[in-house]
Symmetry: C2
Subunit: 149 residues, 2 copies
C-alpha cells in the first residue's frame, strides 16, 4: 500500500494554513512541521493581526514544534511551507538545525535564496511542490488587495 | 546641559538586560528599543528557558516595541543590542524598517556581517559601543559553562 502521508499530503496541509491567513486578510503563507509522518506544529502568517513582523508562519511553527518536542532543536523534522522562507525565517531554521525544508512557491524578491541566507550545514532545502497552488493564492490576495485600495 | 540619554546610557540598559540573561544561565545578550529618548521595549536571550531558538533578545524587543507602538514598523526607533544581530534578528529588523541599529560586540562567527544578511535600505548599523563590557560578560559566561561541564 502506498503511504498516504507523502510530501504532497503535508504541503496540502500547509496550503490549508495559508488559506486561514488569506481569510484573515493576511498575506497567505502557511507552514507545518512534521516528524515521523505526524504534524506537530502549524502556523500561518499573522503579521497584520498581531502587528508583529516576526509573526511569519514558519516562526510560529518553529516555536510550536519546539514546545511540542520540549527542546529547541528540530532534528528529524521537516518543514513544509507554501512560500520560500525569508532571511528571518531561514535564520531561525539555521538555529533549529532542521534537516529538511520543502517550500512551494519561490520568493524572487525577498526569499532566502536571492538574499543568500546561510542555511545550517545539516539542512537541505527543495522547492516547487504545489508551487502553482501556492502562487495562485498569493496572486489572488494581492489582486483583491489592489482592487480594495 | 548635556543630554544624559545618550547612546552609552541606552547601551548600559541593554547590558543590564544581558546580565539578566546571564543570571538565568542564558548566553548573555540584551537589547532595548528606544524612541525619543524613551525605552519602549526590553529583551534578553531566553532560548534555553523557553526551548525556542527564536527567543533572542532582539526578537522579543521587536515584538514588545511593536506592541507598544500599535504598529509593526519601528520607524524612528533605535535598537541597542549587546551583540551584533544574527541572520534571524537582522532579517526581522529588515521587515521592521528600523532606521538605526547600534550593537556592542561583534559576532565574527554567526553575526549578520559575516553572514552578509541584507539590511533594509532605511537602516544604518554601527558597532563597538561598550564592546569590551559586552564581550567580557560573554567570555565569563562561556568560561563558567566550560568549567561546569
Amino acid at each position: 500500500m502506498e503511504n498516504p502521508f507523502d510530501d504532497t499530503y503535508f504541503m496540502k496541509k500547509a496550503l490549508q494554513e495559508a488559506e486561514l491567513a488569506y481569510e484573515k486578510g493576511e498575506i497567505p503563507v502557511g507552514a507545518v512541521i512534521v516528524i515521523q509522518d505526524r504534524i506537530i506544529a502549524r502556523g500561518h502568517n499573522l503579521t497584520e493581526l498581531l502587528n508583529d513582523v516576526t509573526a511569519h508562519a514558519e516562526m510560529q511553527a518553529i516555536t510550536a514544534a519546539s514546545n511540542f518536542l520540549g527542546g529547541k532543536f528540530l532534528h528529524n523534522c521537516t518543514l513544509y511551507v507554501t512560500l520560500e522562507p525569508c532571511q528571518m525565517c531561514a535564520g531561525a531554521l539555521y538555529w533549529s538545525q532542521i534537516p529538511k525544508i520543502i517550500y512551494a512557491a519561490r520568493d524572487e524578491q525577498r526569499g532566502c535564496i536571492v538574499m543568500d541566507t546561510t542555511l545550517h550545514p545539516k539542512t537541505t532545502m527543495t522547492g516547487g511542490l504545489l508551487a502553482e497552488e501556492a502562487s495562485a493564492l498569493l496572486k489572488r490576495f494581492f489582486i483583491e488587495k489592489r482592487n480594495l485600495n
